[in-house]
C-alpha cells in the first residue's frame, strides 16, 4: 500500500479534479467546495462555506439561479448543463457550465445538493459568437433585401425612362409616315428600320423589366381573363413584327375556338419572344410559321422556322437567362427572350417544347385552356 491511501486518492480527486465541486446543504448554504473552484474563483474555501451560492454569481446568474435552477432542482432533483457566471474575487466573470443533483435519504428528505462546475469561457464565447454571427447574417440579409428593393425600383424607373424617349422616336416615325413627305425608296426603308429598331428595343426593355421582377421577388404575375378573345392580341403581335421586319414573311394560322384562361398580354409577349427568336435564328429566305389553336381542352401555340438546327449542346441551355446562340448579324439580344417566354409558360402552368431538325425548328407552347377545377 502506498502512503497515498484510497481515502487520500478520493480526497485528491475531489479537491484537484479538473472541475469545480460544491455541495449545498438542505438549508441552501454551501457546505463543501473543492480546491479547483477556490483556485478558479480566488475565494478561499472558508469564504464559501456557510454562504449561499447566488452570492458568488453575477446579477444575471443570480436571477437565473433563483428563477430557474433552484425551482427545477427542487421539483425534479437534478438540473443539467446550465450556464452560469461566477464572479471571482478579482471581480472578473467566470463563465461555467454546471450540472446539479440532489441527494435525498430513503424517505426522500433532501440531504444536500452536489454541483459540478466546468469552466466554459471558450465554449460560451463560441456560443456568443454564433449568436453574434447569426444576427450579423440577419443584418446582412436585411441589407441585401433593401439593396434588392432599391435595385428593383431602379430598374422600374430605368424601364420607364427608356420607354418614354422610345415612344417619342416611334411617334416621330409615325408622323413622318403619315405625312407622306417621304417618298424615296431609301427614305421609306429608313422609316422601316426605325420602326423595327423601336420594336426590338421595346421588347428588350420589357424582357429586362420582367427578368428583374422575376429575380427580385414577385415573379411574373398574371392577369387572367378567359372572356376576351386571344386571337386579336396574337394578330397584333404578328402585325408589329411584320412592320418591324418587312423583308421577312410570317405565315399564320389561328383557330382559337374555345376561350383560353390566360393573361392575354403575357401570351402576346410569349408569342412575340418566340417569333422574334425565329426571325433572328431562322433562314432569312424562308417564312416563319406561327399557329395557335384550342383542342381537347388545351391551348397550343407554335412557331416554326427553317434553317440550321439548334446544336445539341445549345438545346439544354436555350431557356437559361442570358443564353445567346451564334447569331450572324446585329440582331443579337440579351438572351432573355426565351427565358422570359418559359417563365410566362410556367406561370400559366404550361410548358414550351422544342424540336430542331435540319428541316425545321419548332417551339410549341402548351397550356390547359381552362384552369383545373379545384377538387
Amino acid at each position: 500500500m502506498s502512503e497515498f491511501g484510497p481515502i487520500d486518492e478520493y480526497k485528491d480527486l475531489f479537491e484537484n479534479a479538473p472541475c469545480g465541486y460544491l455541495t449545498i446543504g438542505s438549508d441552501g448554504r454551501i457546505t463543501k467546495v473543492n480546491a479547483t473552484l477556490t483556485a478558479w474563483t480566488g475565494f478561499e474555501a472558508d469564504k464559501f462555506v456557510g454562504r449561499r451560492l447566488h452570492q458568488f454569481l453575477n446579477m444575471a446568474g443570480r436571477i437565473y439561479y433563483e428563477t430557474h435552477i433552484a425551482p427545477l432542482l427542487r421539483m425534479q432533483g437534478f438540473f443539467n448543463e446550465f450556464a452560469l457566471d461566477f464572479e471571482t474575487a478579482a471581480g472578473d466573470r467566470l463563465p461555467v457550465i454546471a450540472n446539479a443533483a440532489e441527494r435525498r435519504d430513503p424517505d426522500g428528505t433532501p440531504l444536500f445538493t452536489a454541483l459540478v462546475v466546468i469552466k466554459a469561457a471558450d465554449r460560451r464565447r463560441y456560443e456568443r459568437q454564433l449568436v453574434d454571427s447569426r444576427s450579423e447574417l440577419q443584418r446582412g440579409l436585411a441589407t441585401e433585401r433593401e439593396t434588392g428593393e432599391l435595385r428593383e425600383q431602379f430598374i422600374a424607373v430605368l424601364g420607364h425612362d427608356l420607354r418614354n424617349p422610345l415612344a417619342a422616336i416611334s411617334a416621330g416615325a409615325r408622323i413622318l409616315q403619315r405625312s407622306g413627305a417621304l417618298q424615296q425608296q431609301k427614305e421609306l426603308r429608313v422609316l422601316d428600320m426605325i420602326n423595327s429598331t423601336v420594336t426590338r428595343m421595346s421588347d428588350l426593355i420589357d424582357n429586362i423589366l420582367d427578368f428583374a421582377r422575376g429575380r427580385l421577388g414577385g415573379g411574373i404575375t398574371l392577369n387572367r381573363d378567359a372572356d376576351r378573345p386571344l386571337g386579336p392580341v396574337l394578330e397584333q403581335v404578328v402585325d408589329e413584327l411584320r412592320t418591324a421586319s418587312p423583308q421577312r414573311v410570317i405565315e399564320t394560322s389561328f383557330e382559337i375556338i374555345d376561350p383560353v384562361d390566360c393573361d392575354r398580354t403575357r401570351i402576346g409577349q410569349l408569342a412575340s419572344n418566340l417569333i422574334g427568336n425565329a426571325l433572328t435564328h431562322g433562314a432569312r429566305d424562308e417564312p416563319v410559321r406561327v399557329g395557335a389553336k384550342t383542342e381537347a381542352g388545351q391551348f397550343k401555340l407554335w412557331v416554326a422556322n427553317a434553317g440550321d438546327p439548334i446544336p445539341a449542346a445549345a438545346m439544354e441551355k436555350l431557356f437559361e437567362p442570358f443564353f445567346r446562340g451564334n447569331v450572324r448579324d446585329s440582331r443579337q439580344g440579351l438572351g432573355l427572350g426565351l427565358h422570359i417566354a418559359s417563365q410566362i409558360a410556367q406561370a400559366h402552368g404550361g410548358r414550351i417544347e422544342v424540336t430542331s431538325t435540319p428541316d425545321e425548328t419548332r417551339f410549341v407552347f402548351t397550356m390547359l385552356a381552362r384552369r383545373d377545377e379545384l377538387p
Binding site: 422600374a156 420607364h160 420607354r163 418614354n164 415612344a167 417619342a168 422616336i169 416611334s170 411617334a171 416621330g172 409615325r174 408622323i175 403619315r178 421595346s202 397584333q236
Partner: protein, 123 residues
Amino acid sequence: MARLAPVILIVEDDLLIRLDSAETIESAGFEVVQAANADEAIAILTARPDIHVVFTDIQMPGSMDGLKLARFVRDRWPPIKIAATSGLVPVEDDDLPAGSVFLPKPYGGAQIIAALRQLTGTA
C-alpha cells in the same frame, strides 16, 4: 343637323408623342387642341368652353402633374371627361376622378380612339 366634332385637349410634354396623338385623334374625326403642360391646359380650358375631354399624360414636369390636373378639372369643370395615360403602372382607381379612363403607355391609336368615343358617347 350636323353635329360638331367633340373637342379633345391633349396634355403631353413630349412634342413628338403629342403631335402623333393629335394626328391620330384628328383622323378619327375629333377636333384637337394641344397643351404641353398643366398650366397651358388650364389657360386653354379657361378660354374655351367647348372642350369635351382632357387627355393627359400623368408624369409631367411643371406645377401640376396629370393626376393633379385631372382633379383640378373635375372640381372646376365637372362635365369635362378625363382620359389619362402613363408608362408607370399601376395607377390606382381612386387616383383618378370617377368616370375617368386610364390607358397604360404605350397605347395604340385604336385604343385611344375607342376610349375617346366611349367618353364622348360617339361610339
